[in-house]
Amino acid sequence: MLQEILQSLPQVLVDGLTLGAVYAVVALGYTMVYGILQLINFAHGEVFMSGAFIGTAFFILIMGMGWASAIPQFILLIIVLILTASITGLVGVGLERVAYRPLRNAPRLIPLITAIGISFILQDVVRFIAELFNGNYIVTGPSLFSEQITLKASAISSIFYDARFKTSFLIVLGVAIILMVALDYFVNKTKWGTAMRAVALDRETASLMSINVNKVISITFFIGSALGGATGVLFAVQYGTIDPYIGFILGLKAFIAAVLGGIGNIRGAMVGGMLLGLMEMFASANLSLLTGGVFGAEYKDVFAFAILILVLIFKPEGLLGKPTAEKV
């Protein structure tokens, strides 16, 4: 049995890291907003989904123009990522302004329910627009980065099988890592990033430092939603076919990743996302093997939620979240 697990390990690692990177970047959106407003923005999964649709629309639009075939695919991807991230970022700012800010001082359950309501609205708006232009709400984008790559793991040791994947896996992983490194730098090293952490710790005192708290909150929503939208584009590139409901389960899992790493903790969300992706792919490859065929690969989601429950029982503050020691 161990031998079989080891054989599939290279493939599990490649798939897991890629999936984990997607979870991680989406988890950042949850964790940033939670850190600053103690709000679980359940609409974030739908912002991700909107990003997938907006990105696909741009791909179809740009590639429909004759001269666009001259543009290298990679440049095209960067253009679409920037355009989409800007739009979903603004969507996030708008959501906060219209739906959450008026409820800033309401009991926490109320903005949570509002967030769930917004998810439904976004799903239906995207579905409506997709059907209007496409005739069907399930949309297939152009195929990009589809060359097959073989990772010759068997050359390292005969225990392993080779791993096979599309170039898009590398693109997704690479872009996601760049986004995470950039965000980490922004939050820890820049003035506005530090202000963001200050607002998350103590909104009132931050305002006494001449920090415009509403502006910081808007920036947080912009960045979180831009990252979510960009990940949506990556998802669309990787899987090709999207529908308005992809944000639900992926959003939930990214939320689990955020809780796993310690909600409110940015590096925690990155670690949590990567771990969850790896564990899920591991489960998908090996569950039936480990349970003697009782549970198949389709139980990988149950596995993800079981992890959430275990974390909540044994380490409710998450892997990297620690109760802060504060002196008064």
Binding site: K191, E204, T324, K327
Partner: protein
């Protein structure tokens, strides 16, 4: 010249009235103290001035400029700094980051560096602790950081809310010395204190607040001698 003019303000927390028509003024170069017991409305007065609490009626002017109900990021940028009760250090930020947040609206790296050096002359300990997290320092050090952070704004008016709270007597002594020192360097000070004797002994003028109203005001030296005050706060 009058730096701060508070005119008959009333502030509510929900249905509860915290301030019942407070009027006070602070002139340039003064140390003015606002004393009173717990829950009298001292902190609420400061919060109303800086904009953390909404005033229902009355007006507040800073250097002749109307600032009633302006949000804190707009009032503090005019040159008034408010060091809140309980220090409110950003516990997970380093000492340096805390100081930089004080200088959030300040343009120019040189200016910020210069001000930081100035803060270190008042509080040399902060320089040693530059990369330590704010929340891991002792109460006295946190108070010094809170004042240092406010000084990064280069304020003309420094409003301090109970800087002596919870500190050892020897540290309290130091804090009051620093307040005197800051005042002699030209900063006008509005000091809220429960520690009435010490506050009055360094203040030019004082106001006594009770149940959201000013019940007594006068020179610091007179108030220290006042029998009512002696009985109520200095016993």
């Amino acid at each position: 010249m009058t730096v701060l003019e508070v005119n008959n303000i009333e502030t509510y927390y929900g249905a509860i009235q915290a301030l019942r028509g407070i009027s006070l003024h602070v002139d340039e170069g003064e140390i003015v103290t606002l004393i009173g017991s717990n829950g009298a409305g001292k902190s609420t007065t400061l919060k109303s001035i800086s904009g953390l609490a909404k005033v229902k009626t009355g007006t507040i002017q800073y250097k002749g400029k109307e600032i009633t109900n302006k949000p804190p990021h707009q009032t503090t940028i005019l040159g008034m700094a408010h060091v809140p009760e309980g220090r409110r250090i950003f516990s997970n930020l380093t000492v340096k980051e805390n100081l930089l947040m004080g200088a959030f609206s300040v343009k120019g790296k040189d200016v910020i560096q210069e001000r930081m050096e100035q803060v270190f002359t008042h509080f040399p300990k902060l320089k040693e602790r530059l990369n330590q997290k704010g929340g891991t320092m002792s109460g006295g050090e946190q108070q010094m950081l809170a004042i240092g952070r406010a000084l990064m704004m280069n304020p003309e008016l420094l409003m301090l809310d109970e800087p002596s709270m919870g500190l050892a007597p020897i540290i309290v002594e130091q804090i009051f010395e620093i307040i005197l020192h800051l005042n002699s360097s030209g900063i006008t000070i509005l000091l809220v204190e429960q520690n009435a004797y010490q506050a009055l002994s360094i203040a030019h003028r004082g106001y006594v607040i009770q149940n959201g109203e000013i019940v007594l005001s006068g020179k610091g030296s007179d108030l220290v001698e006042n029998d009512e005050i002696k009985e109520a706060y200095l016993a």
